[in-house]
Amino acid sequence: MALITDLGLQALQMFLVVVIAPFVLGVTRKVKARLLRRVGPPLLQPYRDLWKLMHKEAVIARNASWLYRVVPYVVFAVTWVAAALVPTYATGLLFSWSADLIALVALLGTARFALALAGLDVGTSFGGIGSSREMMIASLAEPAMLLIVFTVALIAGTTQLSSIASIFVSAPPGLRVSLGLALFALMFVGIAENARIPIDNPATHLELTMVHEAMVLEYSGRHLAMIEAAAALKLMAYFSLIACLFLPYGMAMTDKSQTAIAIGIASYLAKILMLAILLPIGETSVAKMRVFRYPIFLGGAFAAAALAVFLLFVSRGF
């Protein structure tokens, strides 16, 4: 019986992230449009887009291989698994130990690897440019991300996200220089990884500097729907990660009663909504960068995270 309850709680988290991910995307788009004094699409527009794309015929280039058709599902599945393993409303769920923070980062890397291969499959220059730049950005962002992981893991003494969240709630580390640097770096990395301004523009389709959209240019129909859903889930995963690491309050910890879970879900939604409103505010206040300025942006994140780790190695007090 306990196993069924545990499985149910895990499944709730798994479906919670996938169900609200398009809504969160809708919120960011709406807020961004309002900031630009546009009306903006309805909040539920991403669901309608996905529905529409899923029911359209998929047009595939004649020379596309099986890889091209499999990758959208793989990317979606891997991103889903990653997003579902970040603790959202509760810690210590049934499968929370099956991947720690390092494995989560690597899982997102698997999704990116698959998508970059798909970009090269048809053999167009747009796909190539997208894949090549995506891997360049990843090669800068992933080390920064792992150093962020090191920072929180060194403070909490564990790389398990669930344990980190409980430790941060039960024994708050307080205001730490290293945690501040890590948060700063995580925001930069999140922006780069989710193809947001100033690294990439999710709203553009025909711009020479584009990255993610160039990579998936050939996709259509249900395959495109999967990729869009995966992108929304990835944003969710990063939001959940920031919420879980830096705002772990309100999560259901040892007590898994209905009230605790209700509080957990409500607080989780509030945190995600707050981040979904903050992101477009940040995005509208800066301009898109040139491609070869990315190393400066991500180098900043890397330097901040590296500084945090060095400080922690020298003294645990930072």
Partner: protein
């Protein structure tokens, strides 16, 4: 060390019989080399012997048997040759013979395409035998003799296609570096054996060298074994020699022989010297970190598939050395449990790398057979023409890029876990070095993914760039079987890493006197390196989650939405260009990363010669990348040696009077030195 001296156990007969049989097969290879049936006979025999040797070593390791020893009255008179198979040797025997067995299987198909079999068949089994003997050797003389045999025999195979000028250069540089390495090991053993000069490992193990001697021996072992393994800056021979050999031998060189180099390092530093100092860990860590990043950056700049793989071996050697360096640092500070974790991370990566690097070299060999091309810029679209090879190669690419749920990720994950323990180290130097190395390891992991997206994407995906790629065909079933066996090992070791970790426990017990927690009892087959509250990983559940959610999604969409599919032209924003040359190539794919990293590290220049509008001549684009090792170390060294030789050349043309004067002066100087010495 926990156990010193010679223990009694079952004599290491099977291992030696296997090595001896391989040598006999090598002799047979000379006789059979000209016959068309020689190739299958030699490779089948090697396969059988390697399977036997691998099974023996595996049972020995799993049974946790005490070391088996044997002394044979051959070799130096009154000393004889000593052999000993302990847990460490058994593990490396598994790596060597697993690689040997699957390479032989692959060669049953691939070897038929060999144009000059007589140049390969005798040396191939001898190479395997030599590697087996190095691992079994229990005295310095046998070790060095086998080591040198391994170097020379592999050199002979590298030179199999000696009419290509590039191979001549590769062979020359390999020979120089191999001799240098052996010289360093010779000096290391000389130092360790001390004034009494007992070269048996048992005696060396039992005597504790002074700090200075130990320090010199560690440095010499790093130089000697590191030059065989491919540590930067001793890696220069590796990307030249590995691709020059026939592909199945490239797999052995890259996947297995580099591991024998690592075995040499572990044997000398962990076992023979013992009791490491913190600074040795620091040096090994720094070298490992630099090797990992430079190796993968070099690999990214390549467009020859086999050379890319060879450079990438350098990266993996770096990762292994990071694990070993951490183990030394922990051991020096008495944190044996952490040293066990770091050592097992390194050894796990040894196994993983031998598996996926062999797989990738087999794939490159298959591409070479199918198209006659190694240059990726002349390939493309092979996933349509060689679908099975493409699947196996893809699994290898995912595994080597350290992506879950395959095996490469597990060993890197364990290394990261070891890094996260290291703030507990007391030395400030290590405290500063370890996070830097962690950052380098993270960087190299991310760059490896980029490197293999490039390798796979440019070779197997896209549209064929040449006729050779258009008319490629799938390779034979022997080669495919070998590749799929390795791919299955990549998946198995990735989802069930606990078994590998448990199997490695006796090695850690011998070398660092502690073991990781036993993984067999962990629920759901997870791995827990330290404690469950600290970190755990379960590749099996991740894989099950991935497969179930992907098939669930695909099923739901196909069932309830639509599965209508139409094939059409390429979209490419409405302007598809017909020529396959408009695709991204290997060098254009690497361009952003090249600009970011290589401008400073490699002194990269891009020379663009663009004709003025209206001018009809062709434009030119050239990239120049300098290897800093050549630029700052070997180039000046070679110039110095050349210059000195030219100067000394005058001594050849003196008169007899001057020669007599020279001899007399030399005698006087020597006598003065002797007088001053006493």
């Amino acid at each position: 060390m926990v156990r010193r001296g010679v223990e009694e156990g079952r004599p290491a007969l099977t291992e030696l019989w296997c090595a001896a049989s391989l040598l006999i097969i090598a002799v047979g290879g000379i006789a059979l080399g000209r016959s068309p049936r020689g190739t299958p006979i030699v490779y089948t025999a090697s396969l059988a012997v390697c399977v036997l040797a691998c099974a023996t070593a595996l049972t020995r390791l799993l049974a946790g048997a005490s070391p088996a020893t044997l002394a044979l009255p051959v070799g130096v008179p009154w000393i004889g040759a000593h052999f000993r198979v302990d847990a460490l040797a058994a593990f490396f025997l598994i790596v060597v013979n697993l690689g040997g067995a699957i390479t032989s299987l692959y060669a049953l198909g691939y070897g038929r395409h060999e144009t000059s079999p007589l140049r390969v068949l005798p040396f191939y089994p001898a190479f395997l035998a030599a590697m087996n003997l190095v691992v079994c050797a229990d005295d310095a003389f046998t070790f060095l003799l086998s080591w040198e045999l391994m170097s020379l025999v592999s050199w002979a195979i590298v030179m199999a296609h000696h009419r290509e000028p590039a191979n001549l250069r590769a062979g020359y540089i390999y020979l120089v570096m191999a001799s240098f390495g052996t010289l360093c090991l010779l000096l290391a053993f000389g130092l360790l054996a001390g004034a009494h000069g007992d070269y048996a490992f048992a005696t060396i193990r039992a005597t504790r060298p002074s700090t200075i001697v130990a320090a010199f021996a560690v440095v010499l072992a790093l130089l000697g074994a590191g030059s065989k393994a491919g540590l930067v800056p001793l890696h220069v021979w590796l990307p030249l020699a590995h691709p020059a050999a026939p592909s199945h031998v490239s797999a052995l060189l890259s996947g297995v022989m580099t591991k024998v180099g690592i075995y040499g390092f572990i044997r000398i530093v962990f076992d023979l010297i013992g009791d490491p100092t913190p600074w040795s860990g620091l040096v090994v860590l720094a070298l490992g970190g630099v090797t990992a990043v430079l190796g993968v950056l070099y690999a990214l700049m390549q467009h020859d598939l086999k050379r890319l793989l060879a450079y990438h071996t350098v990266e993996n050697i770096g990762i292994i050395f990071i694990g070993l360096g951490l183990a030394l640092a922990f051991r020096a500070n008495g944190m044996n449990w952490a040293a066990a974790l770091a050592l097992i991370a390194g050894l796990f990566h040894v196994f993983n790398h031998s598996v996926f690097k062999s797989l990738l070299f087999f794939g490159a060999g298959a591409v070479l057979v199918a198209t006659g091309e190694r240059d990726m810029e002349r390939l493309g679209g092979l996933i349509h023409r060689m679908p099975k090879t493409a699947v196996a190669f893809l699994i290898g690419c995912i595994a080597i890029s350290a992506l879950p749920p395959l095996n490469g990720f597990v060993s890197e994950w364990l290394t990261f876990q070891a890094i996260l323990i290291s703030p507990q180290l007391p030395q400030l130097g290590l405290k500063l070095m370890v996070p830097a190395v962690g950052a380098l390891l993270a960087l190299s992991a991310a760059l490896a993914a980029a490197c293999f997206v490039k390798a796979y994407g440019v070779t197997f995906l896209g549209r064929p760039r040449t006729d050779a790629a258009t008319s490629a065909h799938e390779v034979d079933n022997w080669s495919l079987t070998a590749m799929f066996v390795l791919a299955a090992l990549c998946v198995l070791a990735g989802v069930l890493p606990g078994f590998v970790i448990d199997a490695l426990a006796p090695v850690a017990k011998d070398l660092v006197a502690d073991v990781m927690p036993r993984q067999a009892g962990v629920p759901w087959l997870s791995i827990v390196p330290i404690a469950e509250s600290r970190s755990s990983y379960n590749g099996l559940i991740i894989l099950a989650f991935m497969i179930s959610s992907a098939s669930l999604t695909a099923g739901v969409i196909h069932r309830f939405a639509t599965r209508a599919t139409r094939r059409s032209d390429i979209w490419d924003c409405g302007f598809p260009l017909a020529s396959p040359h408009t695709q991204y190539t290997s060098s254009s794919f690497a361009m952003p990363i090249r600009r970011v990293f290589a401008t400073t590290v490699f002194g990269m220049h891009e020379i663009v010669d663009m004709p003025a509008p209206g001018d009809m001549r062709a434009g030119h684009f050239q990239v120049r990348v300098f290897d800093p090792a050549w630029r700052f170390a070997y180039g000046p060294l070679a110039r110095f040696v050349g210059g000195a030789a030219t100067r000394l050349n005058r001594l050849q043309f003196l008169t007899i009077r001057r020669y007599l004067t020279l001899v007399f002066c030399a005698l006087i100087v020597l006598l003065l030195v002797v007088a001053a010495w006493r």
